[in-house]
């Protein structure tokens, strides 16, 4: 057996480009965006120009034709500078664009996917409702076909939808009940009458990421705005979520690895009692443990990306990567704050922002509990 752990020279070269971009265009502004709760649309467009929104899609739609690992590396590198920008990218690609790539008609691909890939517009994915989160099958939003006008009439509500209300948001793909036991994906264009985007949530972290509650009140869209096959909405989003979990795990990995670097640098530089604090085992060993966790997370994330690239089943691998990477990211940010002492608690400090930004990773795109549920079921346990 030959195990190959080296990314290709091209992947490494691209990592260097994205790191350069993140350090030059994102990192210097991230603290201000966080403080002011700004969605930095110019920086998002710059990510588009760099081709990040099109990485995993084929060149015929303007994509980069990259493998999934390259996409994960890009997210990891952006996340090292700013989790908000990384989630804007991840949600834009994995939740916004991917459904069109998988399920869209050629026309839908041309109209939606192509500009999303170019980073000119964003798409959002509306699954969660006030009373249907982990239990997404409990979706209450209804869409009824008005035969006389060939339009869907949508009534209902969605909660916590990323990228749904930016000035470049083109549409939201929602899951809606089109019959008692039927869930269908329907595309609702921004600005459609009866589609109300509520003011952004005030959040604990991810301040520069755009999150809204959406209300549908007799909202009408043309019949052909169904994405994919009617009644297959549930199947589609399970697939979308599996893929997305690998990408979220890459985001968590980036945050954890940035915390490791910041912690080691600070432990070497900060003086206390006549020497650097890194000479205390209690500090040094935190860094050592963090390094192990980052290494493990990287192996899980890259392996999951590799499995996906091979066309193998990824449900468990994606769940493991997401579960582990998000939990070690929360641990790493907490310990990084501890290593930074009082400075770690001050808003502008990177690790303080990361501490606030990390927690959501254990919740979004399937909570840690849901990942464990997937894994336990995969083990054949009769778990509920």
């Amino acid at each position: 057996m030959i195990v190959e752990f080296d990314p290709t020279p091209e992947q490494e070269q691209f990592r260097a480009v994205v790191r350069d971009f993140a350090e030059g265009e994102i990192a210097p502004n991230a603290a201000a965006w966080d403080r002011d709760h700004v969605f930095p649309v110019d920086a998002v467009r710059a990510m588009g120009k760099l081709g990040l929104f099109g990485l995993p899609f084929p060149e015929e739609y303007g994509g980069g034709g990259a493998d999934y690992l390259t996409y994960c590396i890009a997210i990891e590198e952006i996340a090292r500078a700013d989790a908000s920008m990384a989630i804007t990218l991840e949600a834009g690609v994995s939740l916004g664009a991917a459904p069109f790539f998988y399920s869209g008609t050629e026309e839908q691909k041309q109209e939606y996917l192509v500009p999303m890939i170019a980073g000119e517009v964003l798409g959002a994915f509306g699954l969660t409702e006030a009373e249907a989160g982990s239990d997404a099958g409990a979706t209450r939003t209804r869409a009824t076909l008005d035969e006389s006008t060939s339009e869907w009439v949508i009534d209902g509500q969605k909660t916590f939808i990323t990228n749904s209300g930016t000035e470049i948001t083109k549409c939201v793909t929602i899951t809606a009940r089109t019959a008692p036991n039927e869930i269908t994906n329907i595309v609702v264009d921004s600005g459609t009458t009866g589609f109300v985007v509520q003011p952004p949530y005030r959040k604990m972290g991810w301040h520069a990421s755009d999150t809204h509650e959406l209300v549908f009140d007799g909202c009408r869209v043309p019949e052909d705005h169904v994405l994919g096959v009617r009644g297959e909405g549930f199947k589609t989003f399970l697939r979308i979520l599996d893929d997305g979990r690998i990408a979220i795990a890459a985001l968590a990995l980036g945050m954890a690895s940035a915390c490791l670097d910041a912690s080691v640098a600070y432990a070497n530089q900060r003086q206390a009692f006549g020497g650097p604090i890194g000479r205390y085992q209690s500090i040094a060993f935190k860094c050592a443990d963090m390094a192990v966790a980052v290494e493990n997370a990287r192996n899980l994330v890259y392996k999951a990306a590799w499995l996906r690239e091979q066309g193998r089943p990824i449900r468990e691998a994606a769940a493991m990567a997401k579960l582990y990477a998000s939990e070690i990211a929360v641990d790493a940010t907490r310990e990084a704050v501890q290593i930074h002492g009082g400075y770690g608690y001050i808003d502008e400090t990177l690790v303080s922002r990361f501490y606030r930004d990390a927690k959501i990773l254990e919740i979004g795109e399937g909570t840690s509990e849901i990942q464990r549920l997937i894994l336990a079921r995969g083990l054949g346990l009769p778990v509920e």
């Binding site: 091209e10 070269q13 971009f21 034709g65």
Partner: protein, 259 residues
Amino acid sequence: MNVAVCVKQIPDPAVPGSLSSDHTLDRSGKLILDESDSYGVEMALQLVDAAGGGEVTLISMAPNDEVSGLRTALAMGAAKAILVSDPALAGSDALSTAKVLAKSIERAGDIDLVLAATESSDGYTGTVPAQVGELLGWPALTFSRHVEIADGKVKVQRQTEAGYDEVEASLPAIVSVTAGVVEPRYPSFKGIMAAKNKPVDKVTAADLGLDASQVGWAGARQEIVNVEQAPARQAGEKFEDDGTGAEKIVAFLEQLKVV
């Protein structure tokens, strides 16, 4: 319109450099594209684009068949490269470098314009572009902060202390550009993958018709006799602020003629 860009591949400035025993910079490790040259590459790509046709050829002289920096510039969009790599070139001074670059430009053939940086980040003699111009018998325009092609001529804004001069020359010509002439693009993943298959013409001094005695240590007209640390800075004069601190600062600045 075909543009050649001289791109130097240099040791990563982020990594502390060291000198070899012959007092030259240790270039045995991985080399990267000199950031100064990314401006020339971008400018060239934009000029070719504006002209509606043609291609960008890279010219580089570097040890050990180094292509990392060239790959970066190819990923940005250059079409091909000529790399001169030859043990006989070790110890080349700026003039030998210029001879090699001039011969390479001739080898590329059918070049309308050559771009280079004002000075490299590691050697920074700032003399190579003008020497290349002289060897080719082409006009050399320097310190350009803006470059355009019109009516078969190259027109540049030449940076001066006070502003800029407008200078133009007939083609072919060589132009050295300043940082800030244009904003270099980041290479895309597609560009990086495409760069893998772009041709790099690897040549030796002999391939260029240069005799080993004209280049390298043999051809150098200058010799590095010794290298010494710059003297440590002298401690400044210290004043306790007894209420006259502001006056003392003003007096000091007046003495320097800055106020």
